[in-house]
Subunit: 246 residues, 2 copies
């Protein structure tokens, strides 16, 4: 019986990987992953054997990983961020079950984009927040809007994953409009692109201006709650609503 | 000008720390933190100089860290989990501003409890989720209930931080009752205590049974959405609402 370890290696660089992730990658006989992720790992672990599949072939990649784990002792399946947050952990478990594969499975958590982006922006996630993906590939659009609306209604900080793609140019604008029913157009918003990678960039804007900003699928958008403010270029959500600690 | 690095070292063990966190701790002249966190680090980095303060003295601890950073080149302020999620990152920035301290500040993200717990339970966070703390020390209780209600209404997975303390025995029961307005009493719930530490334990239950379960402030509670299910002892939320990937 082999072991399949589903590893989230965080933003992309060696520095933000956990020791557990590094060890699991080093011990694996074969490292399986989406081409882009594998390309991030090659320079860090040049001695490993890799098997890469293109995007949109998630099920195929999981089947490949499960089959390899049936034949080998240690297989790693990698993704950036946390493989347990919008990641492959769930699909691979379902695929293994369907195939009745006799393998052991482990999930190694990683730094998710919300954490990586928050650290770059300052301290925006000091209070309750919602993580919502704007991809409607597998979620009905009306449910996405309802979630945005509910997060707005209850004044939660909102982390938007997959804010924009070629097919979804206007979604982030709609999300901002929904949130502006409940919070000011001046609400601070932080955008981080390629968090933690060499090409990392970030900027601060406001909810009202968000629709005019440059965004793509490599961005994560953090929208403050009603108490979030900017101090010396840092986005901060105070910990207490009554600020008892001052 | 000294540098103050606010470090989240994840669940507690060396294995789940990022390389960046390890390096920042190793480079620091003095490591400042809450006594419990410092005690977790001492066996891992026995050669370091530590300064520990008891709980509830957050502002004092931040003032101490800022003052040390004014006098030294590299100071680390540590906490478990992610210092950027319900952590000290925000307070320390506000304290530094108030003191007009001429120091550089960096945040090093860590694995937050939701990520650590999800990896142990299976793959519960494959879809949109809300992270909500049940501590009403600095949040009006009615706002907490509104957030739970909104997360329920929009079928988000819910991660409860600080689910129970001596003073807050019934809050988790109220939260479960609110969520049961929208999702079944059979909804899978995973509880992880001391995620990632030696004394780690976890169990699965349901939303209806949650009120009868053993919980304390060291637990994190993950409540599934309407599609979450249990498969071979693992808690899984399918990635797509229409399960297009099957």
């Amino acid at each position: 019986m082999g072991r399949l370890t589903v590893i989230g290696f965080g933003p992309g660089g060696y520095e933000d990987m956990t020791n557990r992730a590094v060890k699991a990658i080093q011990e694996a006989e074969i490292v399986v992953g989406y081409t882009t992720y594998v390309d991030l790992l090659r320079p860090i672990f040049p001695e490993k054997e890799y098997m890469a599949t293109p995007m949109m072939q998630e099920v195929k990649r999981c089947e490949m990983a499960v089959e390899l784990a049936e034949q080998h002792e240690k297989i790693a399946m990698v993704s950036s961020g946390d493989s347990g947050i919008y990641g492959m952990a769930g699909i691979v478990m379902e695929v293994a079950k369907k195939k009745q594969a006799d393998i052991e499975m482990k999930v190694v958590p990683g730094i998710t984009a919300a954490s990586a982006a928050a650290a770059i922006l300052g301290a925006p996630l000091m209070h309750d927040f919602s993580v919502i993906s704007l991809s409607d590939l597998m979620t009905p659009l009306e449910l996405i809007w309802k979630r945005i609306d509910c997060a707005g209604m209850s004044d939660m900080i909102v982390c938007l994953y997959n804010p924009k793609s070629k097919k979804r140019q206007t979604y982030v604008e709609t999300a901002a409009d929904i949130l502006m029913k409940y919070r000011s157009a001046d609400t601070p918003v932080g955008v981080v692109r390629h968090a933690g990678r060499e090409e990392e960039s970030s900027y601060l804007t406001t909810l009202g201006e968000l629709k005019h900003m440059s965004l793509d699928m490599f961005c994560v958008v953090l929208i403050g709650n009603s108490t979030t403010y900017i101090m010396d270029g840092k986005m901060i959500t105070p910990r207490g609503y009554e600020r008892k600690y001052e």
